[in-house]
Amino acid sequence: MADTCRTAEGKAAAEDAPCLSRRSFIATSALAGGVVVLAAIPIVSTVVLPAPRTGVGKWVDFGRADQLTPTDFSMLSYEFMVKDGWQDLPQRGFVWARADDKGGVQVFSSTCSHLACNVIWNKEKGLFLCPCHSGMFDANGLPAGGPPRKPLTLLPHKIVEGKLMVHITL
């Protein structure tokens, strides 16, 4: 057993002034930098990198398209499984759809352009009303009152074999 464990550095360092020399400052910084870089690798790869993934769109089948009327919006609800990190979870929601005068279909997202509450179609007033901040949109999805400045989002859709397919992005 060593009585004392002398080291060459120890002796030299003992006579150092209690202030960091340029050399030891660089050495400490380099080592600390190494630690930071080493720690940053898994932080970036497991926390930062997975974050910016955007939602994948999905074509959702809403059944017969000819049941839509031009006079009134129908609430079409959907539910499908989405991979959320490590689990498949059901995602639920609804869209507003009606037949337009040109024989096509108009599909609006139910998400208010103001702060993302669900807008509800009011047949009497002919408006979409947002329950959160009294936002209003007309039947063409344009802002008609309250805080919203942007129109409701029109969702891409297609009719395949008589069935209405809407592209929903989460």
Partner: protein, 359 residues
């Protein structure tokens, strides 16, 4: 007496102004013998605990404490996130290595008599770690919700339950009910990532505080002679950073080469699964197995409890100022007997669980 000296006075006046800005930390000095070969265990433990905290936080960010789903999240972390396998592996190997290094750290202090006055509180606060670290392992083992973790936890719960009077209650408290299910998992999770780390930080703080106020033990022959000093910054700090870097890289490589185990998802209805005790618990497990029936408590509580108590009480039982190992045959012989018994029990356990074929 104190080795951490703050040189506020006695400096040359011309340099005083320049030194003023360097801060108090720069003036902390440590005996030069703090950086000898058998004295890096503490620094290594701190590095390992740092790694355990870092990797633990990263894993907790992708974890859900729900039976079944917990397994999916761990599987996702290990295989779907880049470097996930390394992070989980570092966590796995770091706690295994921590146990080894802790034992060596304790052994060194015991052999060199570092527990003697005035350093009794350093020793006692160190012994307290022996109570906390196993709790980390017990609570952490359940988190991946795989077969091994689940069934080992069941075995551990029944061992704890064998402790008279409080055992059953302790298990119920840990589980939060009669089942090892979502409540038990959540309790283990919160203990593992919140409460126990808090306790551990407190203990580290306490250990360091006593270390700073009571000083590092000097050469066993006597401390009267003036010891050469080195500045904490940069000498000691650099050593520690180097130890951290080396252990991070070493464990990272090990984790990449030999991935941390993840068994099948836990199936509480599968009674055919027999968990094998982990290496560090083989001796304790064997101790529990030796005493059968109503005597089980001797192996599960009385002997381990008495050992911990003896260990904590050592500085108050062995009060002579003599620190040279050659003059402390009695204490060392006692320690050797305990160590040998531990080794024999471990080997017996190893033979029973790993060498002999499964029934």
């Amino acid at each position: 007496m104190s080795e951490v000296q703050v040189h506020a006075a006695g400096q040359r006046p011309s340099a005083a102004a320049a030194r003023e800005g360097c801060g108090r930390l720069l003036r902390v000095r440590v005996p030069a013998d703090a950086i000898c070969w058998h004295r890096f265990f503490g620094a290594l433990q701190l590095a390992l605990i740092g790694l355990l905290f870092l990797t633990g936080v990263l894993m907790a960010l992708a974890y859900t404490p729900v039976p079944g789903t917990a397994y999916d999240s761990v599987d996702y972390f290990q295989f779907s996130l880049p470097f996930g396998d390394v992070v989980r592996g570092v966590h796995h190997y770091a706690w295994n290595l921590l146990l080894v290094v802790m034992a060596l750290h304790l052994l060194r202090a015991l052999v060199l008599g570092a527990y003697k006055a005035p350093r009794q509180p350093v020793w006692v606060s160190g012994v307290l770690f022996l109570l906390v670290i196993p709790l980390f392992i017990i609570t952490g083992d359940l988190l991946p919700w795989d077969q091994k973790g689940y069934w080992s936890t069941q075995v551990r719960f029944s061992i704890i339950a064998s402790v008279p009077l409080v055992g059953d209650f302790l298990v119920q408290l840990l589980r939060g009910g009669p089942l090892t299910g979502i409540v038990a998992l959540t309790r283990c999770y919160v203990l593992h990532i919140l409460l126990l780390p808090g306790v551990l930080l407190l203990l580290i703080g306490l250990h360091m505080y006593f270390l700073a106020t009571r000083g590092l033990s000097g050469p066993p022959a006597g401390e009267a002679a003036a010891r050469p000093q080195v500045p904490f910054l940069p000498t000691i700090a650099n050593r520690w950073l180097a130890v951290f870097l080396a252990s991070a890289i070493g464990l990272g490589l090990a984790a990449r080469l030999w991935p941390a185990p993840l068994g099948d998802p836990a199936d509480p209805t599968d009674s055919s699964f027999i968990p094998r005790p982990e290496w560090w618990v083989l001796a304790l497990n064997q101790l529990v197995a030796i005493f059968k029936g109503p005597f089980m408590v001797i192996g599960s509580a009385i002997i381990p409890g008495a050992l911990i108590f003896l260990l904590a009480a050592l500085p108050f039982l062995d009060r002579s100022p003599e620190r040279r190992p050659s003059k402390r045959r009695g204490v060392l012989l006692g320690a050797a007997v305990v160590l040998a018994a531990w080794a024999v029990l471990s080997v017996m356990g190893y033979v029973e669980h790993f060498v002999q074929p499964e029934p």
